[in-house]
């Protein structure tokens, strides 16, 4: 009796996994992105998208809103003000979602590391699946990163969104610690 229940649960889990595998194939080969143009990194996107490097050959393309997008590109340094927007946008995206941090600014603050207003490590606030080193990374590096992201998704390793769900308290605590309030009411009179 119990066995049957366990068995059905197991088969269910198995079918779910199979479906996830199939879905991961689609997710890896069709990545829509929304980039958050916070800094100089946005400048590197047009050559990556257009004829020279042509990211569409990887099945990638730009999208208008976070609701539609799969990957959020953080293309530069973040101040307290922009980080709020990034978190807001990230939370509006649909699972599974991925984040790529561009350049040293998202990694360790880059040349703004000692500024009072910039955030030095992005992955304290939202889960980052992939960082691209450089200041700024050239299109070759970006294309390389996209290849890596695709490989990660295929293998089921890009699970940052899951990590965010499971460790939401930790992320939220960090956000509150640095920003006090994520969805501010009246920013100009803080």
């Amino acid at each position: 009796m119990f066995n049957i229940v366990e068995d059905t649960q197991k088969t269910r889990e198995d079918t779910r996994k199979t479906w996830e595998k199939i879905a991961d194939y689609f997710r890896a080969n069709s990545i829509w992105m929304k980039w958050y143009c916070t800094g100089c990194g946005a400048m590197e996107m047009p050559p990556t998208m257009t004829s020279r490097f042509d990211m569409e050959q990887l099945g990638m393309g730009p999208m208008a809103t976070p609701r539609q997008a799969d990957v959020l590109l953080i293309t530069g340094y973040l101040s307290a003000k922009t980080l709020r927007r990034v978190i807001y946008s990230y939370e509006q995206m649909q699972d599974p979602k991925y984040v790529i941090g561009f350049g040293s600014c998202t990694l360790n603050g880059g040349i703004y590391f000692d500024s009072y207003a910039t955030m030095t490590r992005l992955d304290h606030y939202i889960p980052v699946d992939l960082y691209i080193a450089g200041c700024m990374p050239r299109p070759e590096a970006i294309m390389n990163a996209f290849d890596t992201l695709i490989a990660m998704i295929k293998k089921g390793e890009a699970k940052g969104w899951k990590h965010y769900q499971d460790n939401y308290e930790w992320y939220n605590a960090n956000q509150i610690h640095s920003l006090k309030e994520v969805r501010v009411k009246d920013e100009f009179h803080e």
């Binding site: 879905a23 080969n29 569409e56 050959q57 099945g59 730009p62 999208m63 609701r67 799969d70 649909q94």
Partner: protein, 303 residues
């Protein structure tokens, strides 16, 4: 009509989906080559749709969900009315006006769902889309009106049959070149391609009606878009290019017309919405009126 018709219709629907989605994919490749890029694989569009369907989604209330279901349902119903070459699942239901207005069910569903999201971008997009519709549909309808007067039929298969009697010279695009031109311009508007795509303007109003969609809702809208394109291009193939005596002939004509429209779209900039309206009411509408008057008063070109 019985169950067999419905199953047959469902089969044609699947065929239409595969056909249009492949052609969209191939066209993405064609455009990439125009821009000297490598471009995606030809089945990229399938991957995109299935990916969107596999993701999670958010809902803004029952009307948001219901609108999407109604929109896709309405457009799929319209697609089932369309004969594919000689294959026709639902004979007697391919009246042009029925198709044009059942298509509107889908549009209304989508518009309703988009506005139901509470996002003003969506409402702005819908208001633009409807204004656009008021612009492109009227010249098209006027041409169709002339043709119905000329042939005393308003069914797509009827039009195709009449044209097939006369070979290539029997095609309405040859017999009524003005009307054909108007219909092609209107088709560009119906497909929402440049220069008439201001209602989805991604950088300006964040893709308009689609702004709040993600996951399964977005996937269904992509499906909807494929079916809608299928219906609209099919209208032109049947009414102006003689339909298809065989499925192959039909598919070839279909693919060529769609590709042509797509290439035209990619070398044009975008009209503002009031410019689009003024353009349609100045040039295509005037041509359409001339064409229909020629048909009604002189009978020029009518076999």
């Amino acid at each position: 009509m019985n169950l067999m018709n419905l199953i047959y219709a469902f089969g044609l629907l699947l065929f239409a989906f595969v056909l249009q989605t492949s052609i969209t994919g191939i066209n993405r490749k064609v455009i990439a080559r125009l821009q000297r890029r490598r471009g995606p694989r030809w089945f990229q569009q399938f991957i995109d749709i299935f990916k969107a369907l596999s993701k999670s989604s958010t809902s803004h209330g029952w009307i948001f969900d219901f609108g999407v279901v109604m929109a896709l349902g309405g457009i799929m119903a319209t697609a089932m009315f369309i004969p594919i070459g000689p294959l026709q699942a639902l004979p007697g239901l391919d009246n042009i006006f029925i198709i044009a207005y059942v298509l509107a069910v889908g549009m209304l569903g989508m518009a309703m769902s988009a506005s139901g999201s509470g996002n003003p971008w969506a409402s702005i997009g819908v208001s633009r889309a409807l204004t656009n519709m008021l612009a492109y549909d009227i010249p098209f309808m006027v041409v169709i009106f002339g043709l119905i007067f000329a042939y005393d039929t308003s069914s797509l298969s009827g039009f195709a049959a009449i044209q097939q009697e006369g070979g290539i010279l029997g095609w309405n695009i040859i017999r009524f070149p003005l009307g054909g031109l108007v219909a092609m311009i209107s088709l560009q508007g119906m497909l929402g391609k440049k220069p008439f795509d201001s209602f989805i303007a991604p950088a300006e109003i964040a893709s308009g009606p689609m702004v709040e969609y993600g996951g399964r809702h977005l996937g269904m809208l992509f499906l909807l878009h494929e079916f809608q394109t299928f219906v609209e291009v099919s209208l032109i193939v049947h009414i102006f290019f003689g339909g298809g005596a065989t499925v192959l002939e039909y598919v070839v004509k279909y693919a060529l017309i769609y590709t042509f429209m797509n290439i035209v779209s990619n070398i044009l900039p975008r009209f503002k919405i009031d410019q689009a309206v003024t353009f349609f009411y100045k040039v295509p509408l005037a041509l359409a009126m001339i064409q229909s008057l020629l048909i009604i008063v002189t009978g020029l070109g009518v076999a």
